[in-house]
Symmetry: C2
Subunit: 149 residues, 2 copies
DNA sequence: TGTTAAATAATAATAAATATCATTTAGTAA
DNA sequence: TTACTAAATGATATTTATTATTATTTAACA
């Protein structure tokens, strides 16, 4: 964080705890999860404070906001990485591939007009947990054909 | 769309127009933009209908919901592609790279547990428009150093 | 063309996020 | 240290976004 940005910015317990919580929990917590987590330490924290700080810290570039299936999630991991996103349950986990980052940035260099500073690839599919719980469900009938509107 | 899914599904004007609007507008419209757009043709359509159909069509797999800077946007483009996302204004445009898709899917094959069906890379940066409007603002002071919390 | 389940419009109800404001606090400088 | 001040907090009100309800309409199909 640059000193100029720091001017007029206070490091309150609330702010520090929220940031610490995010740095200790890389499971992309939602607002409520951050609220519940931080409340363990700061029992009297207001949810409005959590909202305001998540927004503030995101604007300051200390957090990243991601959204899966309509819910906002936050992360403090700024080491460029990718995401494995389950289409079924909406869970999301980090995935690293230096190769893919390099490859993407190489492609980014050729894009005109838009100045790219970072990239992230989302891998969509079905996670282990959902795959296993699907096995126990009724198997689909065969003989279905594709048919667009 | 599979015939089995089609059972008990009606092709109302509202639904058809919403889908048509999304297919004609690849700028990732928000709920309100879809509402305003469709209202040109169906002046009496209710916003609740727009909400319900966007949700319904997304669940049926005919639309994709994406979220930038906290706002939901929808697209009907199912040809795998990537996105250029402006950190400044939150705008988002499509970007195609067959190479990158191939490369990503090759990497996906090596991921254990998670079964990947598609990938999409987000390129974050600053768009042409924002870059130009920044020029007119005061330039930053020099001599800044990095300094973490 | 009659029947019926599904969808709609209008609106009420909920939930999510932001704004307000009196009070407290971190940062700074005397 | 102490005093000052802008920034942040907590509590709550307000706004905005989304979903639920329900009487009515409509698409699908026998």
């Amino acid at each position: 964080m640059k000193p100029t940005d720091k001017a007029g910015m206070k490091y309150t317990n609330q702010r520090v705890e929220i940031l610490a919580f995010l740095r200790e929990h890389d499971g992309h917590p939602t607002v409520d999860e951050v609220y519940d987590g931080v409340r363990q330490k700061l029992t009297r924290i207001s949810k409005a404070t959590v909202y305001k700080n998540l927004k503030f810290l995101t604007e300051k570039g200390l957090l990243e906001e991601v959204n899966v299936k309509g819910v906002s999630r936050f992360e403090a991991n700024f080491i460029p990485h990718h995401h494995l996103i389950c289409r079924e349950c909406g869970s999301m986990e980090d995935f690293n591939s230096e190769q893919l980052l390099d490859y993407s940035m190489k492609i980014a260099e050729e894009i005109e007009g838009f100045t790219i500073v970072s990239t992230s690839t989302n891998f969509y599919g079905i996670c282990k947990k959902c795959k296993e719980s699907k096995k126990s469900e009724e198997p689909k009938k065969s003989g279905e054909s594709e048919d667009e509107i």
